[in-house]
């Protein structure tokens, strides 16, 4: 079903009409919405996972885990708004000596938010995913643009969200789902929308980013776009645990059929380390599988061909010429040199969605650093080293290029916690904010300060008596309560 522009207008008007009541709902009330939604998703988990397997070709275990991540996320955000730090309540009492007035700052919900769902996480980055949870948590109505890759699941999830919100007494207009290609452009340009979030390709994200920025009144556009997630293995690490690293890498770049934004897409390895044959052994045990959508299935062999057309690229494992369409995508390992990456980063480091990774052989630390310095911004960067390795410069290089730097394990798998950061330099993210973890909520808040306000107009967070018992900063000093 495609939403017409007239229908979209009505839905945005309803969101705008609901916004003041959603903003005024207490933290306890909104926490109730999120918890109720989490319970409802759990209740319907089996049905939802069944629809998702049919639409996305992802397996039941993976999808069931994703539902749990999604409900855990909703409950974490409920806890976080009750804790109250997310309001950044800050009070400076009047100082007659300096003539400064009484100033009380808090973060307010920004208003109706447009959420563009991703293809690859039909739960965690879709209708009831992290962006929706973030916006509802801080008090913003949400309009989700469904991903065309899982429309039935989107509609069923939206029914569940709507029912949960209704049962909890949330205002009509708090949530809506729209679908259709044109409706996406109209949504991000709609005067009633105050912020937008997006998970997807660099091309699609850039187009929407440009529309958001070109508005008469530009709005924040939180895009999570492509990411190649550089990984570095030192010689000492391969000597110490080469088999384990090969096995971990093989799982990481092939799981979810290589369709994670955190897939390790480029792996720097020392020359003649023997790692390639270890990886070939490990990958040979990994299954392929059907990709999420026809478009991704077509793009996968195209991407493989584009990279392997480079004269300095060799195929280490698998077939570049693959079927596309309904056939399973097979794992492929390519290899090249650090010098080739340094000179042709655009060609060699283009993101290829699917079960492939590019090994980059380096002969020396300077050669490695020179290639890394041409690597675009990523969500993650990983280094596997031994205590004997001097990695200080390497860590600086990776920190400058990523929002999460790992020293163990693999970047696929993103824990939803207070400290998590899922956002890195362009193009991996279009902002200085995260889309996963508690601080993702900050994207949909704006600051306001009340000057010399009577208590009757102040929100509870700013009342002298601190009825919410939240952490606040009083006259410059952080207080946990009171």
């Amino acid at each position: 079903v495609t939403t017409s522009i007239a229908e979209l207008d009505t839905l945005v008007e309803q969101a705008q009409a609901a916004a003041p009541a959603v903003a005024r709902a207490s933290d306890a009330t909104r926490a109730g919405w999120l918890r109720s939604l989490a319970s409802k998703l759990e209740e319907h988990s089996e049905e939802l996972v069944r629809i998702a397997t049919e639409e996305t070709h992802l397996d039941v275990n993976r999808l069931t885990g994703e539902v749990n991540r999604t409900t855990g996320q909703l409950r974490l955000f409920a806890d976080a708004i009750i804790e109250g730090s997310y309001l950044e309540a800050t009070i400076d009492h009047a100082n007659p000596a300096t003539g400064t007035p009484d100033l009380r700052r808090v973060l307010l919900p920004i208003g109706p938010v447009a959420v563009f769902a991703g293809s690859n996480f039909p739960f965690a980055f879709s209708v009831a995913g992290g962006d929706t949870a973030s916006a509802l948590a801080v008090g913003c109505p949400v309009i989700v643009k469904a991903h065309s890759g899982h429309l039935r699941l989107s509609e069923r999830t939206a029914e569940i969200v709507t029912l949960a919100l209704q049962e909890e007494g949330a205002p009509a207009g708090t949530f809506a789902l729209v679908s259709g290609r044109d409706v996406g452009s109209a949504l991000v340009q709609h005067p009633g929308i105050r912020a937008a979030s997006f998970t997807g390709s660099v091309g699609g994200g850039r187009a929407l980013f440009d529309l958001a920025a070109a508005r008469p009144d530009p709005i924040p556009f939180y895009g999570e776009l492509g990411s190649i997630n550089p990984t570095v293995l030192t010689r000492a690490a391969i000597e110490a645990r080469g088999v384990e690293l090969a096995s971990g890498l093989a799982i990481s770049f092939t799981q979810g059929i290589g369709q994670f934004c955190t897939k390790p897409g480029v792996v720097f390895i020392p020359d003649d380390s023997g790692f390639e044959s270890l990886l070939v052994d490990a990958v040979s045990e990994r299954p392929g599988g059907q990709l999420l959508t026809e478009r991704i299935a077509t793009a996968y062999p195209e991407g493989l061909r584009a990279v392997s057309a480079d004269p300095d690229v060799t195929v280490v494992y698998g077939r570049v010429d693959q079927g596309g369409g309904d056939s399973d995508a097979e794992p492929v390992v390519l290899a090249t040199s650090a010098e080739a990456v340094r000179t042709r980063p655009e060609t060699l480091l283009a993101e290829t969605f699917g079960p492939t990774t590019l090994l980059v052989r380096y002969s020396s630390a300077p050669a490695l650093h020179a290639a890394l310095s041409q690597t675009p911004g990523s969500l993650t960067a990983t280094v596997h080293a031994e205590p004997s390795d001097d990695i200080e410069e390497l860590v600086d290089l990776l920190s400058a290029r990523a929002g999460r730097v790992l020293f163990k394990g693999w970047p696929t798998g993103v824990a939803v916690t207070w400290s998590q950061n899922h956002g890195g330099p362009w193009p991996s993210t279009t902002s200085i904010h995260t889309s996963v973890g508690v601080s993702a909520m900050r994207r949909f808040q704006r600051p306001i300060v009340f000057q010399d306000a009577p208590a009757t107009v102040l929100p509870p967070s700013l009342l002298e008596s601190n009825p919410l018992q939240i952490p606040r900063r009083l006259d410059g000093g952080l207080k946990l309560q009171g």
Copy 2:
């Protein structure tokens, strides 16, 4: 002196080269830079104020006060980075039960920052102003684009900044000044610049915003653009203290010759309240004065003519046909109806820099609210009411349109404190951040998380022992120290 593009390239390269060392400098070291700079500005205050009076036509008292605000701002930011909350250090220890890794989040400096100085605050929003202080505080090199309205002052201030940083041992490249119109466009588009801040007109700000957004790698652009700062007076307030309100308003819209971004540019008053004659009396005691630049002097009578050309606008005080050029700008009070504002907000609510304000007569609360709902985003909104007034709906309307809502006093005058917010909905600001107050620093930081990192690569803020003794969130709980 105009900076050439070749010189700009060299300066940005130097800033990029300095960035890692500036980022690595300890909070105590950077606090030392800011404090030393504050002391140096005080030492040279008389000389700087003398140059500023010559270039800006602002008076000595105002300018001396502004130097104090600027040095106070530098010292407040020094205190804030020592306090350490600005790092948002957050640690989630590994949880073997759930399989989550050890995650440690902190905010890093974003990299070299371009600061576009404003015309109207030659100290507080210029070379050593709030944007420069914010960027240096968090560890970013700064390149300031001087405002053409006070070039000699900019150069002299830059010498003092450079000397202070040199004496404190800051890396070469930490700070630079550039000037010239073309250099501004080149600066915001330069690949080495990671964020930009701007104080000025909607037209100039929008042009730079568009350039920042159109980059191959868009960067955050923190513009503080036009603002009309709606003010509402209730009948009860005028009856209780009309003379005091008239006097306060007259001072607020004429001080600094009406060249504050927080000037109350539109004042809603009840029909037949008698306030207009009180205001005329009060304004008649207020001097005019020479405007900051020739361009502003030309634009002032143009702006007056544009608004007063509306058939529903009358001149309550002063002359619309004024000289421009070197002659003093004289105060002007215009008046219209709420209905006219509701139907023609673009014409009537255009910002006019200079000593003028527009009175808007309202006949009822609905008429007032209808006009207010057409008012564009502003830095501030002010309401003067009595306890007998029901202002709940009014406060909601104003809160939706401003970043600071005042209930006493006048919006000109912005205290620099922990809680201050100087930023409102578009066009007053291009982001969800403030340009004044401690949280202005957040504009130039980006989050990063270290996963399972050895202590040897962690910044001090994330070490288990908390050597900086800063507030941190540990496993979800906020701790003041330790």
